[in-house]
């Protein structure tokens, strides 16, 4: 490593400025990173920033070769997200057939730090290289690979891209998990059809609320801040509650128009029932006319628990294609959370406007759920933590699956350009395509 940072950084920035002046400017103006150290007692020069090693400290070239193998042999162009200490760009540039390599800096400050102590000019001067910053609304550009430290050291401006990279990296694992559950889910759908075949198909609700202002209610902590608004405006709204939001709503005297459930866990049955100590008769009287819309994924106990009318649905996933053809119920989009299905139900019912409540996709204030919600869980126990930005632009703790739900919701919103979507509850995650309603004209 260089002992005089400016001796190395300045000529590197000069090279960069000649190739990508806006990137060089961003590196120069990036905030200085704290908590930087050289890893001690390791065979190869390695930086650690905010506790995260930028590269393997023993065989970084072998590591880079592994990462480079994500790019198919023979590819003429590729994208590297985060060059880290430069091993990955070098590994790919060793391929003579490669004609263009886009190298995206996930945090210009990290590049500046690296370039000050480890010479990066060899790969920067390769004419095939184009260094750039994260572009607005950028999605992973195939074929791509990355230095994984970038996922942890990404500047906020790149978080949406980072999340999509993480989701693509998680896809194989998720597919294995889902494949393991598929047979059981199909069997459960058959059990529900046999036991509750009298339930109406959800498609009968499609088009039933043309032009409505729908409110989709999740049970995130920000619901506590929004529920008073909902109670006041209730009369003019079509309220679709997710299962875990039912208790907080009823507690505040808000009876939803529909309750939606998709999760296979039998404990969901308890979400639909009165809380301990509540007047059971009053609970069921209030909900007597409220339909439960359920996906064929739920446990029989959950369906059994509901005393009001019920509508059955299939999730809009290939797994259910054959069942839907055999018994057409109607399909609801779901990328893993009931909030998606509730939003899709509202859209298919014909809503022209949709407001999200309690849709937090993280743990604002260190809480997992709104007051009185039945689904308390430990915050911060996940090994797969990420952060998202809240409605004030500040980071809140989240985790990979919640971020996946958020990005899937954003994609769903983008596919519904005629639906005016907004959000309340700034302590929860900001949702692209769903401006906070206090900003709306």
């Amino acid at each position: 490593m260089s002992d005089s940072p400016d001796e190395l950084l300045e000529p590197t920035l000069a090279v960069l400025a000649a190739r990508a002046p806006e990137v060089a400017a961003a590196v120069r103006s990036a905030p200085r990173l704290e908590d930087v150290e050289a890893v001690e007692g390791v065979p190869r020069p390695t930086l650690r920033i905010a506790g995260v090693q930028l590269a393997g400290a023993v065989e970084p070239e072998a590591e880079a070769a592994l990462q480079a193998a994500r790019i198919p042999a023979g590819a003429r162009a590729a994208t590297v997200y985060e060059p880290a200490q430069g091993h990955l760009p070098r590994a790919l540039l060793a391929r003579p057939e490669l004609e263009r390599l886009d190298v995206v800096l996930l945090d210009p400050a990290v590049f500046g730090l690296v370039a000050a102590v480890l010479d990066q000019r060899d790969w920067l001067t390769d004419p095939r290289v184009r260094v750039r910053l994260v572009e607005p609304d950028e999605r992973p550009r195939a074929p791509w690979t990355l230095s994984p430290a970038g996922l942890r050291l990404c500047a906020r401006s790149g978080w949406a891209l980072r999340d999509r990279l993480v989701l693509e990296l998680s896809a194989a694992h998720q597919s294995r998990v889902f494949a393991g559950r598929a047979a059981g889910q199909l069997a459960q759908a058959e059990v529900l059809a046999d036991r509750f075949g009298q339930d109406r198909p959800v498609r009968e609700l499609f088009g039933s609320r043309p032009g409505a202002h729908a409110v989709v209610v999740g049970s995130g902590p920000s619901l506590d801040d929004s529920i008073a608004w909902l109670a006041g405006a209730r009369a003019d709204l079509f309220v679709a509650a997710t299962n875990s939001a039912l208790r907080p709503l009823v507690r505040r005297g808000v009876v939803p128009d529909v309750v939606v459930a998709i999760d296979p866990l039998p404990i969901l049955a308890s979400h639909l029932m009165p809380p301990e100590g509540a007047d059971e008769d009053a609970w069921w009287r209030a909900l007597a006319e409220v339909p439960l819309v359920y996906a064929s994924t739920i446990a029989s106990e959950t369906r059994q628990a509901w005393r009001g009318p019920a509508y059955a649905a299939h999730l809009a996933q290939p797994l259910y294609d054959a069942l839907e053809a055999k018994r057409p119920l109607g399909r609801l989009f779901c990328g893993g959370t009931v909030l998606h299905a509730a939003a899709d139900l509202a859209a298919r019912a014909g809503a022209g406007r949709l407001t999200l409540l309690g849709a937090d996709f993280g743990y604002p204030g260190g809480k997992s759920h709104a007051a009185a919600a039945p689904a308390e869980r430990a915050v911060g126990s996940s090994r797969l933590r990420l952060e998202v930005l809240d409605g004030h632009g500040a980071p809140i703790e989240s985790e990979v699956n919640l971020v996946g739900y958020l990005r899937d919701l954003e994609d769903w919103i983008a596919r519904h350009p005629r639906l005016r979507v907004g959000k309340r509850g700034r302590s929860g995650a900001a949702v692209r395509g769903a401006p906070f309603e206090d900003e709306l004209a």
Partner: protein
């Protein structure tokens, strides 16, 4: 007490876990790591004398994982834990 029939499998789990983390596949890596920890716990319960000296390495893995330093986790798995468990 030793368990030689386990050794290649454990070392292989270390390597494939490390590779998943080096590729940024944290979900897969964490799943493999949980499998490895379960296997090590079984061996410890059986009194396998290879496990006790690994305490410092295992503690470092836990610490590195906690701060999201998955390349450090990979290094310890591949170059410390794996060789200690394998041949």
């Amino acid at each position: 007490m030793s368990g030689p029939r386990h050794e290649p499998a454990l070392a292989a789990i270390c390597v494939r876990t490390a590779e998943a983390f080096r590729l940024g596949e944290e979900a897969t890596g964490s799943s493999h790591l949980a499998e490895l920890v379960d296997r090590l716990a079984e061996l410890a319960a059986q009194g396998d004398d290879r496990i006790a000296p690994l305490g410092a390495a295992l503690a470092e893995i836990v610490q590195a994982q906690g701060r999201g330093d998955f390349l450090r986790v990979a290094d310890v798995l591949e170059f410390v834990l794996g060789p200690a468990l394998g041949d």
